[in-house]
């Protein structure tokens, strides 16, 4: 999967927020707030092709969590991103 073009991560009132700024996303009208780890993950895969396994590896290596937990978290995150139309498969 890949992040859909036109999103930018910004700090809005002290919270990391995804803002639709590209031509195709100017009408994006959802409030997507990220915590620090999700924001880091997002930035790590920006502009790249990735899989749930890749997300899990990144989480596991960066935060030192075991692979199963990382895979569960990565799977949940990817589902959310797909549901909110932030990434395309």
């Amino acid at each position: 999967m890949k992040i859909i073009e036109g999103f930018k991560l910004r700090e809005v009132m002290g919270q990391l927020t995804l803002v639709g700024e590209g031509i195709g996303q100017i009408d994006f009208n959802k409030l997507v707030l990220f915590n620090a780890s999700t924001a880091w993950l997002w930035q790590s895969v920006e502009g790249k092709e990735f899989t749930v396994e890749k997300l899990a590896t990144l989480l596991s290596e960066h935060y030192g969590i075991n692979k199963d937990t990382a895979l569960n978290d990565a799977s949940d995150i990817a589902k959310e991103w797909i549901k909110n139309e932030l990434v395309e498969e």
């Binding site: 910004r10 809005v12 927020t17 639709g20 409030l31 707030l33």
Partner: protein, 366 residues
């Protein structure tokens, strides 16, 4: 002063100048709905939200309200992007036809804010001038398609492109008194044509802006005209205050003084100046010709701004204009006279001039 209004002023001042918020006025329960209503009516929600973020967690509004503010900030940022994109598109289009528009107010003024996206944006005003005006209208109509809702007035041609309101100005502004107006039009031609223009880049496109001494007076005069004609919001004073601060070393005070007196705006400048310093937080030394001689009048002005909001739209005693032509005329007549009556003790000379113009325009349009 109403507590929520005072809180709004403190938040606004903090957001506008990137200063800590005066927390004292937030001790005890806060009616956040009241504060947000004022912020919305005064079109300063972005600056207020920024300042709320500086309050300690226990003084901040509930999370639900914070989420709504975040959503509004995101939407406003998206609106800025859309406006800048449209501005660049129309500027490129006109420049290809050898027409060189000058951006008035709006996105140009937003550049003077600490963060442009915190300024609530409106429309795009482009000064074209009389020579290229007809050609520019044809070019934009070809680009936009003939829009049934487009309108033309003595001052400008208005169109809507993909949700963005655009005004092509034949003249930048029209003043009430003919002798002021004649001078103003000459002054506009001197300043907005030729080599005096400033140039900035928005999305890598060169955009023309008016020279400093024109702009600072024009932004002020625009706010003052709207105030006399019905009302303004605090955002318009914020635009002016940010301009005065940002270009405090570039503004030629002698020239400004000469022009303010020539256009009959000296007293008006001092009235707004006091509000900008006392309530909005503009440093006194950045406000040319600051005086506190008119504190009583300025309290009345602030009260009118509080009650009227953006363009005076929120005055609770004003009902909707009735449908019939003559009923509508009578309604406007009564409404404006009520407004002028309130303004009379504050600035009698300006009210008299505006009244003459109002009557003239009312008869002229019949």
């Amino acid at each position: 002063m109403n507590r929520e209004w005072l809180q709004l002023l403190r938040l606004l001042s903090s957001g506008l100048w990137d200063r800590p918020v005066d927390k004292v006025v937030f001790f005890g329960p806060t009616d956040w709905n009241g504060v947000f209503t004022f912020a919305s009516q005064q079109t300063v929600i972005g600056l207020v939200a920024e300042a709320i973020n500086r309050l300690p967690a226990d003084l901040q509004p509930p999370q639900e309200a914070i989420r709504q503010l975040q959503m509004l900030l995101v939407q406003n940022r998206q609106r800025h992007i859309l406006l800048n994109r449209t501005l660049v598109e129309i500027t490129d289009l006109l420049q290809k036809e050898n027409i060189h528009p000058v951006l008035l107010k709006g996105q140009g003024v937003a550049l003077n804010y600490i963060e442009s996206a915190l300024r609530q944006c409106g429309d795009i005003d482009l000064y074209i001038g009389t020579d290229d005006y007809q050609k520019a209208c044809i070019v934009v109509d070809r680009w936009n398609g003939k829009d049934e809702n487009s309108q033309e007035s003595k001052k400008h041609y208005h169109l809507c492109h993909q949700g963005v309101n655009i005004e092509l100005h034949r003249i930048a502004e029209c003043m009430s008194m003919p002798w002021h107006n004649a001078r103003f039009q000459r002054w506009t031609r001197q300043n907005l044509h030729g080599d005096n223009l400033r140039r900035v880049y928005i999305n890598s496109t060169e955009i023309n802006l008016p020279p400093f001494n024109f702009d600072v007076l024009y932004i002020f005069n625009h706010a003052w005209c709207h105030f006399i004609a019905g009302g303004i919001s605090l955002r318009q004073l914020c635009d002016w205050a940010r301009y005065l601060h940002t270009f405090r070393t570039e503004i030629d005070r002698d020239e400004l003084k000469k022009n303010l007196k020539a256009f009959g705006l000296w007293h008006a400048w001092q009235l707004f100046g006091y509000i900008a310093v006392k309530y909005i937080g503009l440093p006194k030394e950045d406000c040319p010709f600051y005086t506190n001689w008119y504190s009583w009048q300025t309290e009345r002005i602030l009260d009118m701004i509080q009650k009227g909001g953006n363009f005076g739209f929120f005055q609770t005693h004003v009902k909707d204009r009735p449908d019939g032509y003559w009923a509508g005329k009578w309604f406007s007549f009564k409404k404006m006279h009520h407004h002028f009556y309130r303004l009379l003790p504050i600035c009698p000379q300006n009210v008299f001039q505006a009244w003459i113009r109002f009557l003239y325009m009312g008869v002229y349009r019949i």
